[in-house]
């Protein structure tokens, strides 16, 4: 099997991040915390902050859980020509498992993000999350 290179995976992740970045920026610009000029009191995030954050989460969910789970390719993976598949069947893993894989990335991050570096030396170029949910990323 032609496993995807770490660089391609990072590139795909960056594209996926760029897709939701405008919503995060809008959340901060239009709904972020503000300081009252007279009293100096800091007020919490306004309603627009939550609107844009929810939009960002929905878009991210559609892209990285639904699309990546159903077709094997989020927008980022499609742009980089790679695909997320089941290790045993070589088929897309479904939205539910794609969501679980996203949760499993917690393990990759908690050890100083070293789990994200595993594809650099692993035989199947898997992250720890990939090993947990038994997925691989391959060249499409």
């Amino acid at each position: 099997m032609n496993y995807a290179h770490w660089g391609s995976r990072v590139g795909a992740y960056l594209v996926d991040t760029l897709v939701v970045l405008p919503f995060s920026v809008l959340a901060v610009v239009f709904g972020g915390m503000s300081t009252d000029a007279e009293t100096g009191q800091v007020s919490g995030p306004g309603p627009l902050y939550y609107v844009f954050i929810v939009l960002a989460i929905l878009l991210n969910g559609y892209n990285r859980w639904y699309l990546a789970g159903k077709t094997g390719q989020s927008w980022g993976k499609k742009a980089l020509g790679i695909s997320l598949v089941n290790e045993a069947t070589n088929q897309p893993i479904g939205a539910g498992k794609a969501f679980l894989r996203e949760l499993a990335h917690f393990v990759d991050g908690i050890i100083c993000y070293i789990g994200y570096l595993f594809p650099l030396w692993d035989a199947k170029k898997q992250t720890i999350a990939d090993k947990i949910v038994k997925t691989v990323v391959v060249s499409a």
Partner: protein
């Protein structure tokens, strides 16, 4: 894309780290962005990779002692970069054949070696930083 050996892949990664370390201080100065250690932030316990950002920045500035004091693993990564570059060049010129897959035994031995190295680094960081109070707020996005 041409297949690279593990040292070459780590070497390329190391070059990326050097590049990032060269620009990272400007990014943090301009944006106040930070990459806190999730384990230390959530539990107060440092992880084996703690100090790598500081070490990488010190190393690209030529401060070997400062780099080693923050996390000696960075010197190992620098060594891999130095080893990988000629390897990469020779393979690009066709002077050496494409890499072969490691045997299961070699993989297992390397895995144990890496594990022991991580353990040593963890003990070093525990000695250097100790166990502090957790601060989950640090993980919240800041702008």
């Amino acid at each position: 894309m041409r297949e690279l050996s593990v040292p070459e892949r780590l070497g390329m990664f190391g070059l990326g780290v050097a590049l990032a370390a060269a620009v990272w201080p400007s990014v943090t100065d301009a944006t106040a962005l930070a990459v806190p250690c999730p384990l230390r932030t959530l539990t107060g316990v440092p992880c084996p990779g703690c100090g790598l950002t500081t070490a990488a920045i010190a190393l690209v500035r030529g401060d070997l002692v400062g780099a080693a004091a923050a996390n000696p693993l960075i010197l190992g990564l620098a060594g891999v970069v130095l080893l990988a570059m000629p390897l990469f060049g020779l393979r690009a010129l066709g002077a050496i054949p494409p890499p072969v897959a490691w045997s299961v035994r070699a993989r297992r031995r390397t895995g144990w070696g890496a594990g022991l190295l991580a353990l040593a680094s963890w003990l070093f960081q525990l000695h250097r930083l100790g166990v502090t109070e957790p601060d989950p707020l640090q993980l919240a996005p800041s702008f």
